[in-house]
């Protein structure tokens, strides 16, 4: 019984892994040059699909994602740098199209707040520790 359950579990886990690694780039989109294709794939992984907003255009099969994937490859073939392609996209769709938000004044809180909370947490623990130590000595 345990063995059966284990195999089912392993089966589910592996299929899940396969599902996580899936992507939507179609063979006819591939660039001939593998180096350039790799660059295109890397950029696509950082670009949000605006139709299904929590997927990158690398994973999404939405029509807009396909159009953007093709456009990125055309831009690479035209000799554009990665930065030029990213700024081309953000000029039209805003920073939201980047899955990794850039460090800017408007996103400062987003980046800094976790560390602020961490500092507060450490401070509180430190304070608490100090107090309990003092209590022990008094006894």
């Amino acid at each position: 019984m345990q063995k059966i359950l284990l195999t089912i579990l392993i089966y589910l886990m592996t299929t899940q892994i396969v599902a996580i690694n899936c992507y939507s780039v179609e063979p006819d989109e591939f660039l001939q040059n593998p180096k350039k294709e790799l660059r295109a794939r890397n950029i696509s992984k950082n670009v949000r699909c605006l139709v299904c907003q929590n997927q990158s255009i690398d994973e999404s099969s939405a029509a807009l994602a396909k159009d953007l994937r093709i456009l990125i490859r055309i831009k690479i073939e035209q000799g554009n740098s990665d930065e030029e392609i990213y700024s081309f996209l953000t000029e039209r769709y805003g920073d939201f199209i980047l899955l990794n938000p850039p460090f800017k004044i408007s996103t400062l809180l987003l980046w800094v707040l976790p560390f602020v909370f961490l500092a507060i947490g450490i401070f509180v623990i430190f304070l608490h520790n100090n107090k309990s130590k003092k209590l022990d000595y008094n006894k």
């Binding site: 605006l50 139709v51 907003q53 029509a63 807009l64 159009d67 953007l68 093709i70 456009l71 953000t90 000029e91 039209r92 769709y93 805003g94 939201f96 509180v124 304070l127 608490h128 107090k131």
Partner: protein, 177 residues
């Protein structure tokens, strides 16, 4: 002091809860994105026309009057629903509307306009979504209001409907001022 430390996480928790609840109940569409093109010049592009054998050149064509730019396709049901309101805007208000036929079959588009009427001064072809991407379009229909200087002043994502028609006309008037 000790009481303060004990109580503050609870207060913080309820504050965060309050923020979440506020965001939940306010009337807001999280899938609607602000346009990056507001207060910017219309993109520079050239496009073929659906009904004439001519090339449309932007921004040259965006001068002298307030213009609407409407992305549509025959495969898009909300575009069909929106069509009578575009007709109304062009017939009753004499607005210049430029249609951009997004990733569509040209024959179908011609038939569609013959059947439903043509509110557009020009119908541009965008077979590979290149114009759509230039305008930051991510879902059809989308309508832009461009002022007489060729500057984009407003974008509506989704169709013009009975519900938002008056508000939309108000926006147009604001831009026309």
């Amino acid at each position: 002091m000790k009481k303060g430390i004990l109580i503050s996480p609870i207060i913080l928790f309820f504050l965060i809860l309050l923020v979440f609840f506020y965001l939940l109940i306010i009337d807001r569409n999280p899938s609607e994105l602000p346009s990056m093109l507001i207060n910017k010049k219309v993109p520079t592009f050239e496009a073929e026309l659906l009904l004439e054998d001519k090339i449309f050149i932007s921004p040259g064509e965006f001068r002298n009057e307030t213009t609407l730019v409407n992305f549509f396709a025959t495969w898009c049901k909300p575009c069909f629903d929106e069509h009578p309101y575009l007709k109304k805007l062009s017939d009753e208000r004499g607005l210049k509307i430029i249609g951009i036929n997004y990733k569509d079959d040209s024959k179908r588009a011609v038939k569609w306009l013959e059947k439903l009427g043509n509110p557009y001064s020009n119908v541009l072809l965008d077979p590979n979504a290149r114009l759509g991407i230039d305008w930051g379009v991510y879902g059809l229909p989308e309508t832009f209001i461009v002022n007489s200087d060729g500057v984009i002043k407003y974008r509506l994502v989704g169709p013009i409907t009975k519900k938002n028609y008056d508000a939309f006309v108000l926006k147009v008037k604001e831009v026309e001022k």
